[in-house]
Symmetry: C2
Subunit: 311 residues, 2 copies
């Protein structure tokens, strides 16, 4: 490969959409700088705030924690790592260990919550149904994980939670919402999205960075790769949309970025009611809901009715 376009060193990566060739150090620096610009552009974090980082222990979230720590050398904000232990035996132990290792190494406060502690059952237990399921494992888990991150955020008293969603996740979600006819849900992609009745904001500092660049950052930074995948993973439409966007990006470099711009352009045309979500207390547990009983209480009831007897 050619030499680094910035320093003349050994090129390790060609950024196809820009034509740049970068060495390992200049590439890593570019990811940090891109993240800094995204945070600044959308005003994601304010001076002095406590910033929770949702760290599953996979390469994306570990990379985000490392990048944010690198950006915080002047302690402009206070970093806290938030980990949810869903309770998946033989899978989750490894990634939680990676999260613990990195937070210790970077000397970052680490708050861990578990499905077992919050809801009274692990994911293994919640998915151990006596009958066929019509709901996907990811749908069940997603409802609980969102609440668990909220709970971890409240426990850690943070002002804002950063998740490691990247440009690919963003473009996939946008296209999936359109293919589902859920235009109003595109409001969730608003970088300035707030739930006005919940005290913690959510931001996505990697939203302008390609999945493959996050992976390369992780590799070049010595961040450990998780050796096993979630045994319950079922991708469905997202996998199909991912494959399509990857093919399109190869044929038309920069297309995912264009799709991000289109999504932001659509978001900018939504009404404030669509981008600022107004939740109301769940009539059962009092936590935020869109009205009546919240999704978590509904899903707990579904799980309660279906898990195997006598266990």
């Amino acid at each position: 490969m050619a030499v680094c376009s910035k320093c003349g060193g050994n090129g390790v990566y060609e950024r196809r959409y820009s034509g740049e060739v970068l060495c390992a150090n200049c590439f890593k620096a570019s990811i940090v700088e891109k993240t800094r610009r995204t945070i600044s552009r959308y005003g994601m974090v304010k001076f002095g705030e406590r910033l929770g980082v949702a760290v599953s222990g996979g390469k994306d979230s570990l990379s985000l924690l490392k990048v944010l720590d690198g950006l915080n050398q002047d302690s402009r904000f206070q970093l806290v790592a938030l980990t949810v232990d869903e309770g998946v035996r033989g899978y989750r132990e490894e990634s939680i260990a990676h999260a613990s290792d990195l937070t210790r190494q970077l000397n970052i406060e680490h708050v861990v919550v578990s499905y077992e502690g919050l809801f009274g059952f692990s994911l293994d237990k919640a998915l151990d149904w006596k009958d066929e399921r019509e709901i996907s494992s990811c749908s069940i888990c997603g409802v609980f994980r969102r609440r668990a991150i909220d709970e971890a955020a409240l426990k850690a008293k943070v002002n804002v939670v950063a998740t490691a969603h990247n440009l690919d996740d963003y473009a996939q979600t946008f296209l999936m919402n359109l293919l589902h006819g859920d235009v109003e849900r595109i409001g969730w992609l608003d970088p300035a999205y707030v739930d006005e009745s919940f005290p913690v904001r959510r931001v996505k500092p990697f939203m302008e960075i390609y999945e493959e660049e996050v992976a390369l950052y992780a590799y070049l930074s010595g961040i450990p790769f998780q050796s096993v995948s979630c045994p319950y993973m079922h991708e469905g439409l997202r996998g199909e949309v991912r494959d399509y966007l990857n093919e399109m990006e190869v044929k038309h470099p920069g297309m995912k970025n264009v799709l991000l711009k289109s999504s932001l352009s659509v978001v900018s045309r939504l009404s404030p009611a669509e981008t600022g979500h107004h939740s109301v207390p769940c009539i059962t547990c009092g936590k935020p809901s869109s009205g009546g009983t919240c999704n978590v209480c509904k899903m707990k009831e579904v799980v309660r009715q279906h898990v195997k007897y006598g266990e």
Copy 2:
């Protein structure tokens, strides 16, 4: 195949997104009825109006003419067929003959205009460049064809022009606009789109009908298929998007329809300035333009500079 869900006759088509099985007659009637509903839903044609139908002579536009004629047995509006002869030797003669045959058979007024008559050169001549081209043939032809249809509409004194764009065209254009980052151009997909400074409206009565159903309608109605394709056709991104949407529709029947709904949902959120196009007179020819010199005058100049000398 099973029997027709409507009349118990011999089923020839299974509509995957609805589960219906239809015989030839019930299928054809369903296309006419769907078109009637689309026209009614979006108020496309008013009582007593002169309705021009852009008829290239391909299966889609011949089908549209036949369906609209069938819907007009009570002469609620006056049908006029509008044909543009781009001037492509060995290709266009066949489809123009098909258009003439059907208009004669249905006793419909037929107005034909040509690039040669309107612009002074055929498409064959306009594309006969002495050097390599950076503009695709379809881009060049599209600029002239849009103007030619406008001219035919004015000549025929119609109030509204119907084109045979179908659900597939619509879904493809929507996705292509997003992949190009052209959110403001999505306004053109507004079924109620008007150019406030041009007296003729444009409507798409087949916008809710699948391409494959238009093709089957044509086949079952004895509408002739054109045996050759345009020699200049170059699909580029549209071909890729078409293939993708076709794959998605097979896996998830009804998805193109959902994408149409999403596009209309996005259109409904655009500002009036984005959906009502305001043109101003071209400083060269006085015809509608977005400002300064119109695209037709610009493209004529490009063609003039590049066509082979001495011919």
